[in-house]
């Protein structure tokens, strides 16, 4: 490791001071090549999404051209087919089902996860690491392992093709991650403030409202966003346990799985339309998403 020279010769000192300054350049200013590289990488990653949106606005013949016809005229035909205006099925019931299941399960998850996280961080139970690991371990068991019992239970209870069953299952699917996230968010509540509030004689609701809530609210938002996204995306359970009445948006999309000649624009329109809620939510609440995915490590 080279060290900065400490010569007293003015000329040399001036040079070494300059080189020291160059070496001590703050993190911020770096060679522009890295910025260019970052842009290139970002563009490569986003191109498929842009392509999907662009193709959804092309006619089928334009979409099926090789090389891709980037500047073909735009049309809403793809979306018209998707909306069933050409005589196909309407996507509105599946979209509503997805919305119902995702929002409802997220609400229930938050209601269950926040108190649980409280009991694992601020006023922890004795074996909180074990409990936390238990929650996470339920994610280790793939959904497929419990598919048959769930199917049998649903069939016997008359809950097949029922959106409420999906809501419950999505709740159990997201609860472990929500508990883990909320716990790490709540662990950020400053202990000194809690102690001070207690010493001042504040009762539990006051402590919750004034000390815990300000720290917890962004965490709750981040957790809710993640749970919404995972619920909206889920396919396997929905496909197994629902069909015409309670089918969700991803299930609807699998109807496009087989090739039927020229239809790329229609597929892209369907794919874009169904991803819009998640894309919008994710972009609008980008910081929350980042917070959630990094478990609150980013302030």
């Amino acid at each position: 490791m080279s060290t900065v020279s400490t010569s007293t010769n003015p000329a040399v000192a001036a040079t070494s001071f300059k080189s020291a300054r160059r070496k001590a350049r703050p993190e911020g200013r770096s060679h522009p090549i890295w910025g260019i590289l970052a842009w290139a990488v970002g563009i490569v990653f986003v191109i498929p999404v842009l392509f999907m949106v662009l193709t959804s606005l092309h006619s089928e013949t334009a979409a099926a051209s090789n090389p891709p016809a980037v500047f073909a005229p735009l049309t809403l035909d793809g979306y018209r087919s998707f909306l069933g205006l050409d005589g196909g099925r309407s996507p509105l019931p599946p979209l509503l089902n997805s919305l119902t299941a995702s929002v409802a399960s997220t609400l229930i998850v938050i209601l269950l996860a926040v108190p649980a996280a409280y009991a694992l961080s601020i006023k922890p139970v004795r074996k909180w690491t074990d409990v936390l690991f238990f929650f996470l371990s339920t994610k280790f068991l793939p959904i497929v392992a419990g598919l048959l019992p769930l199917y049998l239970f649903a069939r016997n209870a008359g809950l097949l093709d029922n959106i409420n069953l999906l809501t419950l299952l999505y709740t159990s699917m997201n609860l472990p991650i929500a508990v883990w996230m909320m716990r790490s968010f709540l662990a950020e509540v400053p202990a000194e403030m809690l102690e001070a509030a207690q010493i001042d004689g504040a009762n539990l609701p006051t402590i919750l409202a004034r000390v815990v809530a300000p720290v917890a609210m962004p965490g709750i938002a981040a957790t809710a966003l993640i749970c919404f996204i995972f619920s909206w995306n889920e396919l396997l359970l929905a496909r197994t346990l629902t069909s015409t009445v309670a089918g969700t948006a991803p299930v609807f999309l699998t109807g496009f799985a087989t090739s039927q000649g020229l239809f790329l624009a229609q597929v892209c329109a369907a794919a874009t339309a169904i991803s819009i809620p998640v894309l919008a939510a994710g972009f609008a609440a980008q910081d929350k998403l980042v917070q959630g995915l990094s478990m609150g490590a980013v302030k």
Binding site: K23, A119, R126, W232, G282, S294
Partner: protein, 328 residues
């Protein structure tokens, strides 16, 4: 299920004397029985719900795995001991599915981690439009996985009009060539195609976690190292990377949990053909196509056991995460 737990519950009065796995603050350790019960209360709804929704179905699965139960022959339902398990271990297609799952998961998680780390390092610096680039990077993770699978299958990998072959045509056209190489991606490289689409979707996830790790790294230590003339590589190797290890483990653990269960891509892109059937898809096929409930259940149980074995190693990782949490 866990191994590194505290010693069996000592009487509450001696709570302060036992050495817990984690160092709780003195005020945090429950001081009395009723206090302990009060603390458990908020936890119960979530805990009970989770047990009911996950453990009960799993118990039923275990029971069914010992039965010969096929939907097409409902009269022949009966217990058959370990027959289904023998089938699981001897059937070559199921063994193939295990290998495929391991290869797929390991490849996707490792490549996503490395790519994610490199991109996070790039995004850690200030440059013009950094927020826009981060937004662009997040986009793949926000596309519904089924939609992404369809996009890759028909829009990108299709030999006639997909984006990849289209770009090849365009590039070759720039050099005046009429015969660009057109690859039948899904036919010739099925597993690679699925891995590509999964890596595309999961690298943003890894990148976000690692970026958070980078932005929480001790800036003054790096500053000091720079003043001493440390080069970029040395800073990375001795300061950045050890700090990132915890985040790499977190990303790897979470990524593995989700990618092992990846169903959508295999289902849409290849329907399990050409050696791409991973375990979730195989179990789904056994369940729905063969309608052999007993066998499907046995497969499920084997997957769970395998995951628990892997998880026991992961437990050490998670414990180190917890220890670091409490060392803060």
């Amino acid at each position: 299920m866990s191994t590194a737990s505290a010693p069996p519950a000592a009487p509450a009065a001696k709570a302060s004397r036992r050495r817990p796995t984690t160092d709780l603050r003195p005020d945090q350790v429950a001081q009395s029985r009723s206090e302990a019960r009060r603390r458990r209360l908020p936890l119960l709804p979530a805990l009970l719900f989770t047990i009911a929704a996950t453990q009960l179905p799993f118990l039923v699965t275990i029971v069914v795995s010992f039965m010969d139960w096929r939907a097409l022959r409902p009269d022949e339902r009966g217990f058959t001991g370990f027959d289904n398990y023998v089938q699981v271990f001897t059937n070559p297609s199921i063994r193939g599915a295990v290998v495929t799952t391991i290869v797929l998961t390991a490849t996707v998680v490792l490549v996503s981690l490395v790519l994610g780390m490199l991109i996070a390092l790039l995004l850690d610096r200030q440059f013009l439009g950094r927020g826009i680039v981060r937004t662009m990077m997040i986009a793949p993770f926000l596309v519904v996985p089924v939609a992404a699978a369809l996009l890759w299958k028909h829009g990108i990998l299709n030999p006639s009009y997909g984006l990849l072959n289209g770009v090849l045509t365009w590039v070759w056209g720039l050099f005046g060539s009429d015969s660009p190489p057109q690859v039948a991606w899904l036919q010739d490289f099925p597993l690679l195609s699925i891995e590509l689409s999964l890596i595309w979707q999961w690298t943003p996830f890894m990148m976000l976690i690692l970026l958070a790790g980078l932005q929480s790294k001790p800036g003054d230590v790096v500053e000091a190292a720079r003043m001493d003339g440390a080069g970029a590589w040395q800073i990375f190797r001795y300061i950045t990377f050890p700090h990132l290890r915890r985040y790499l483990e977190l990303g790897g653990l979470l990524g593995a949990i989700y990618v092992v269960q990846a169903f959508d891509s295999v289902f849409i892109m290849t329907a399990g053909a050409l050696g791409t059937a991973n375990l979730p898809y195989t179990i789904y096929a056994t369940f729905f196509q063969q309608q052999n409930y007993g066998l499907a259940s046995a497969q499920g149980v084997v997957v769970v056991i395998g995951t628990i074995i892997v998880a026991t190693f992961a437990l050490r990782t998670v414990s180190s995460l917890f220890d670091e949490e409490n060392a803060r």
